[in-house]
C-alpha cells in the first residue's frame, strides 16, 4: 500500500509540474475576485439594498402564497404539458418551505446570512462548471496526454500493476479538484465576508430533501451544496478519465466530456423531462445541488435516486476505462 501512495505522489508531482495546472488555479482565483468585485460594484453603484422588509403579518402572506401554489401544483400535475412539469419539484419545495415556516414560527430573514450569500453566488456564477472544465483538462493530460507524449510506456514498464497506475492518476486528479474546490470556497467566503460583512455565521436554514424540510445550520447547508456540486463534477471527471483511457486521445476526451458537461446534460435533461425512462440515462439528473436548492426538476427523482444513477454510470465508465487500459498493448 505504501508503494501505491508513492505512485499517487508521483502523479501529483507530474500534475503540479505542468504549467497549466498552476495557471488554471490562478484563473479560478482571478475569476472569483473579479466576479465578486463586479457584483459588489454594481450593488454599490445601483444602491441595491441587501435587506428586505418583512411585514408583521408574514404568516398570512405565506398562507396565501401556499394556497396559490397548491392550485398551481394541481394544474401542473393534471396538465399534459410535459415542459411545465419540471416546475412541480420547485413548487413542492416552495410550499413545504412556507408551511414549515408557518408551523414552526420561523420568520423569513430580513437579511440573508453570509452562508446563503456564498451558496447563492456559487450557484449563480456556476463555479463548479469552471472546476469541472479544469479537472477534465488536467485529467485527460494525465491519462491521454501521457499516451501521446509517449511517457506512458515509461510508467507501464515499472513494478506496478496497470490498475494501480490508473488509480493513482484518478486520485491525483481528485486531489487537484479538492484544492480547486477549497480555494473557490474560501476565496468566495472571505471576499463576500469582506464586502458584505460576516453576519449570520450561526444562522440556520431549511434544507429540502425532496420529501420534507429539515432545519440545519446554514454553514452545513453551504457545505452540502458545495459537496453535491463537487460530486456532479466528479461524474464528468470520471467520464473524461474513462474516455482518456479508452481513446488515448486528449482532444476526444476533453472535447466529448466538455460537450456533455455544457450541452449534452441539458439535452439529456430534456429527455428525462419528456420520457419516463429518460431519468435512467446518464447526466440527465446529475445536477445534484439543484435538487436540494431549487427542487427536483424531473418528476419522481430524489437526491438519493440521482446519486444512485450517477454512481452506477460512474462505475460503468470506470470499469470500461480500467478494462481497456488493462488489456491494451501500448
Amino acid at each position: 500500500m505504501g508503494n501505491f501512495f508513492t505512485l499517487v505522489s508521483i502523479e501529483n508531482t507530474k500534475l503540479w509540474k505542468r504549467l497549466s495546472t498552476k495557471i488554471m488555479l490562478l484563473i479560478i482565483i482571478v475569476i472569483i475576485i473579479a466576479a465578486t468585485s463586479i457584483v459588489k460594484y454594481y450593488n454599490v453603484s445601483h444602491n441595491v439594498s441587501n435587506t428586505t422588509k418583512i411585514s408583521e403579518n408574514w404568516k398570512q402572506e405565506l398562507q396565501q402564497g401556499v394556497v396559490m401554489q397548491k392550485t398551481q401544483l394541481k394544474q401542473l400535475q393534471d396538465g399534459t404539458d410535459k415542459m411545465s412539469k419540471f416546475m412541480i419539484g420547485s413548487t413542492k419545495m416552495s410550499i413545504a418551505e412556507s408551511e414549515y415556516r408557518i408551523n414552526n414560527n420561523i420568520k423569513p430573514e430580513s437579511q440573508s446570512s453570509i452562508w446563503s450569500k456564498v451558496t447563492k453566488f456559487d450557484t449563480q456564477a456556476r463555479y463548479s462548471l469552471i472546476i469541472a472544465l479544469m479537472l477534465i483538462i488536467s485529467c485527460s493530460a494525465l491519462v491521454a496526454g501521457e499516451f501521446s507524449e509517449g511517457t506512458m510506456k515509461m510508467m507501464i514498464s515499472r513494478p506496478y500493476k496497470r490498475s494501480e497506475i490508473l488509480s493513482a492518476k484518478l486520485i491525483a486528479t481528485i486531489l487537484y479538484g479538492l484544492v480547486l474546490l477549497v480555494t473557490t470556497f474560501l476565496l468566495n467566503f472571505i471576499l463576500i465576508g469582506i464586502f458584505n460583512g460576516f453576519n449570520g455565521m450561526g444562522a440556520k436554514e431549511m434544507l429540502w430533501t425532496s420529501s420534507k424540510i429539515i432545519y440545519i445550520p446554514a454553514a452545513l447547508k453551504t457545505i452540502i451544496i458545495f459537496g453535491l456540486d463537487f460530486l456532479t463534477v466528479l461524474v464528468y471527471v470520471i467520464l473524461a478519465f474513462a474516455i482518456s483511457a479508452i481513446s488515448r486521445s486528449r482532444s476526444i476526451a476533453t472535447g466529448f466530456s466538455l460537450f456533455l458537461l455544457l450541452a449534452g446534460s441539458g439535452m439529456l435533461q430534456m429527455l428525462a423531462i419528456f420520457f419516463s425512462w429518460g431519468k435512467y440515462l446518464p447526466f440527465g439528473t446529475s445536477d445534484f445541488s439543484s435538487i436540494v436548492n431549487t427542487g427536483a426538476c424531473i418528476e419522481g427523482t430524489t437526491l438519493a435516486f440521482s446519486i444512485g444513477i450517477a454512481t452506477i454510470y460512474s462505475i460503468i465508465f470506470c470499469f470500461a476505462g480500467y478494462f481497456a487500459f488493462q488489456k491494451r498493448d501500448i
Binding site: E149, S157, Y160
Partner: protein, 307 residues
C-alpha cells in the same frame, strides 16, 4: 540458480489473426551485450515490448532475473531498465526532476545514486534544464540514466542509435561497453543497422518475419562472410584502368567503382593477383576486404532476400 538474466521461452504474439512473432527463444547471460537484428517490421519491437510488459504475451513466457513477466510482473520489472521506441521523458520538467520522479518508484535510490547515474551518462551540465531543450542525443542519455537508476540486472534499449549522429552513436557504444564490462550489466539492444551491431555486441540474434533465424556471436557471423572462399576486395592503385584490364585477362570477376577496383575472387588467388599487378608496374596503395558489405550479404542470405 539459473545463470540467465533474461530467458525468453517460445514467445508468440498474435494480434487479430496476424502472427507478429512466433517461437522466439533467447537466453542472455550476465554481462553480455546481445543484439537483436532485423529489418523494420521483423518483430524486434514487439518482442521487446512483451519483455517490458507493454504488450501482452499471447503464448510462451519471459523470465527476467528469474521472475516471470506473466506471474510476477512487479518482480520482473524491478530487474529491468529500458527505453522503448523513443526516449520520451516529461518535457515540461528538468532532467533532474524526471530522474527524481522515477527514483521514487524504487526503494533505496537516493540523491547520491541520481548524481552517480547523471555522471555515468555525462549529463551533469544540462541536468537542471528542461527536457524540451535537450537534443536527441541528450534525451537518449537521460533515458539511459533513468533506466540505470535502480541498478537493474538488464538494460533493454530499442533502437538506441536511431537518429543519433556518428559521434552520438560512438558515445553510446562506448557507454554500453563500459557498463557491461565494469558493472556486469546485461544489455539487450535492437537495431536494423548491421555495422553497428558488429561493433557493439557480443552475440547477435537475427530476426526476420517474426522468427529468429540464427543466434551467433559476432565473430562467427563475420567468419561466415569468408566461408565458401569468395571475398570481395577493393583495390586502390595508381592506375585503376590498367589494373582492371589486367584482371579481366586473368579471368577474375572485377569492375571499376568510385572507390577503386572491386575484385570478386577466391582467397587462394589473392597472392597471384597481387604478384601480377606488381610485376606489371602498378602501384598498389591498398587492398581492403569489404567487411560491412559482406556482413550484409550474410544477412541477406540468412533472411533469404535477394539484393
Amino acid at each position: 540458480m539459473n545463470n540467465e538474466v533474461l530467458k525468453v521461452e517460445k514467445l508468440k504474439k498474435i494480434i487479430g489473426k496476424r502472427t507478429i512473432v512466433s517461437d522466439i527463444s533467447i537466453e542472455l547471460k550476465k554481462g553480455e551485450i546481445f543484439g537483436f537484428l532485423g529489418p523494420n517490421g521483423a518483430g524486434k519491437s514487439t518482442t521487446i515490448k512483451m519483455i517490458v510488459g507493454l504488450s501482452k504475451i499471447t503464448e510462451g513466457n519471459i523470465y527476467v532475473g528469474g521472475c516471470s513477466v506473466k506471474e510476477d510482473f512487479k518482480g520482473a520489472m524491478r530487474n529491468i531498465g529500458c527505453i522503448v521506441e523513443n526516449p520520451d521523458m516529461y518535457k515540461y520538467m528538468s532532467g533532474l526532476d524526471n530522474l527524481k520522479i522515477f527514483a521514487k518508484i524504487y526503494k533505496g535510490v537516493d540523491e547520491a545514486r541520481i548524481n552517480e547515474v547523471v555522471k555515468i551518462v555525462d549529463l551533469e551540465r544540462a541536468i537542471k534544464d528542461k527536457v524540451k531543450t535537450y537534443s536527441l542525443g541528450m534525451k537518449q542519455r537521460l533515458g539511459i540514466a533513468q533506466a540505470l537508476l535502480h541498478s537493474p540486472k538488464i538494460l533493454i534499449l530499442d533502437e538506441p542509435t536511431n537518429g543519433l549522429d556518428p559521434a552520438g552513436i560512438k558515445d553510446m557504444r562506448e557507454l554500453l561497453r563500459k557498463l557491461s564490462s565494469e558493472t556486469g550489466l546485461t544489455v539487450l539492444v535492437s537495431s536494423h543497422i548491421l555495422g553497428e551491431m558488429q561493433q557493439m555486441c557480443d552475440r547477435v540474434g537475427i530476426i526476420h518475419k517474426g522468427r529468429i533465424i540464427t543466434i551467433k556471436s559476432v565473430d562467427e557471423l563475420l567468419n561466415m562472410t569468408q566461408k565458401g572462399d569468395r571475398t570481395v576486395l577493393v583495390l586502390e592503385s595508381d592506375n585503376n584502368e590498367k589494373a582492371n584490364s589486367l584482371l579481366t585477362s586473368m579471368n577474375v570477376n572485377n569492375s571499376i567503382l568510385g572507390d577503386g577496383v572491386h575484385i570478386e575472387t577466391t582467397k587462394d588467388r589473392v597472392p597471384e593477383i597481387i604478384k601480377t599487378l606488381t610485376l606489371e608496374g602498378i602501384g598498389i596503395f591498398g587492398m581492403d576486404r569489404q567487411e560491412t558489405q559482406s556482413l550484409e550479404d550474410v544477412f541477406m542470405k540468412l533472411t533469404g532476400e535477394e539484393k
